[in-house]
Symmetry: C2
Subunit: 204 residues, 2 copies
C-alpha cells in the first residue's frame, strides 16, 4: 500500500513555513491546512504580499531603516529632522516605538543587531562603519545609544562609547535612562532594575 501523506505541494509549504520565527512544525501544518481551506484567493494575496515585501523592501544604505524600492527611506527623505542628533538603535523596528513617543526629532542609525559573541555577532556584522562615516562627515553634536538594557545591549553600548571617545571625542554620547518602567511598582522590579533606578535617581 502506498504511504498516505500530504500532497507534495503541502509538504513543501510546511517546510517553508517551519523556518519562520516562532512557527514550529505543528503550527506550520496548521497554517498550511488552514490556507488550503481559504476561499477568495487569500493564498494568492498572501503570496503576492510576501513577494512584494521581500523583493521591494531592504535596509537604507545610510541609516539602516526600511527602504522601499518605490518611495525610498522615509527617515532620510524627511527634511524636518535635526541631523545634529543621531539615535543608534539595534533594529529598524526599534525606530517605531521611539517615534510614537513624539519626543525625538533627530535622525536614527539602525545597527542591524547587537554585539552578541554567543550568537557569533561581532562589531563587523553591524552597520558601524556607516555610523562612523556619518560622524566623520561632521555636524553631529550628540549620539544617543538607544540599544537594549540587556547584556548584549550593554556590550554594544560600551563598545560604541569607547570607539566614539577615541575617534570623535567632540560628540556627546548619551544612553537612554534605565529605571522603573511607567506604572510599575517596586515589588515587581528586579534587583538590577532597582539598582539602576537608585543609581540614576534625579532631584525633583
Amino acid at each position: 500500500m502506498p504511504k498516505i501523506d500530504f500532497p507534495e505541494e503541502v509538504k513543501i509549504l510546511i517546510a517553508h513555513l517551519k523556518r519562520l520565527p516562532g512557527v514550529g512544525p505543528k503550527s506550520a501544518e496548521r497554517i498550511s491546512v488552514w490556507l488550503l481551506g481559504q476561499e477568495g484567493g487569500f493564498g494568492g494575496d498572501l503570496a503576492d504580499a510576501v513577494r512584494r515585501a521581500s523583493g521591494g523592501v531592504r535596509a537604507c544604505q545610510v541609516c539602516g531603516f526600511f527602504e522601499s524600492s518605490t518611495v525610498g527611506c522615509a527617515l532620510c527623505a524627511d527634511e524636518g529632522r535635526e541631523t545634529s542628533v543621531i539615535c543608534v538603535v539595534e533594529q529598524p523596528t526599534d525606530v517605531l516605538p521611539l517615534e510614537r513617543t513624539g519626543a525625538f526629532k533627530g535622525t536614527y542609525h539602525c545597527l542591524g543587531g547587537r554585539i552578541a559573541p554567543l550568537e557569533n555577532v561581532g562589531p563587523d556584522d553591524l552597520r558601524i562603519d556607516g555610523l562612523m562615516g556619518r560622524l566623520d562627515a561632521g555636524g553631529v553634536r550628540e549620539l544617543i545609544l538607544g540599544v537594549g538594557s540587556d547584556v548584549e545591549g550593554e556590550a554594544t553600548a560600551n563598545y560604541l562609547a569607547e570607539l566614539l571617545a577615541a575617534r570623535h571625542p567632540e560628540v556627546e554620547v548619551t544612553r537612554l535612562a534605565q529605571g522603573l518602567p511607567a506604572g510599575g511598582g517596586l515589588d515587581n522590579a528586579d534587583e538590577l532594575t532597582l539598582y539602576r533606578a537608585l543609581d540614576g535617581r534625579r532631584r525633583i
Copy 2:
C-alpha cells in the same frame, strides 16, 4: 513631520500574516521583519510555495482528503484499500495519524469539520451528503466513527449514528474506543476518561 512607519509593502504583509491561525500582530511583525532580512530569495520561495499549495491542492470530491491538481487524491487512487469499510474523520489531517498506526486498510471520509452549534457549524456545512452517496452506492459493511471524543465530536457521532440507523440499517456503525491513553496513569486521567474506560472495559 511625516509619520514614520513601516513601508506600505510591509504593512500589507503584516496584515496578511496576522490572519493566519496562531499568528498575532506581534508575531506577524516579527515574521515580516525576519523575512526582509533573509538572503538567497527565501521570500520568493515562500511565496511560490504558498501559491502552489493554495492553488493546486483542494478537497477530493469523493472522500474529502487532499487532492493535488497534479497527482489527484492519493487515497482514492490506492486500489489496495478495502472499500467495504469507511472511517469517518473530521479533517483530512486526521487521516495521517490513523495511517501511521498501520492498523486500518479501509477507506476514509473527511467531513471537513464537526457539528458545533456555537461556531455555527451544522450538518449542512459538512460533507455528509457525499457520505450518504457513497453508502447509497452499496458495498459498505462497516462505518467507523473516527471523530473526536469532545462534545462536538460526540454530537457529530450521534447525529451520524441516527442518520445511518434510519437510512442504512444494514451498515454496522462503530466508534473508536475511549479510555486511558497509552502510557497514562490513573492519576492523570480525568473523571470522564476513567468513566469511559470503566464502561468500555474488556475481558483479558
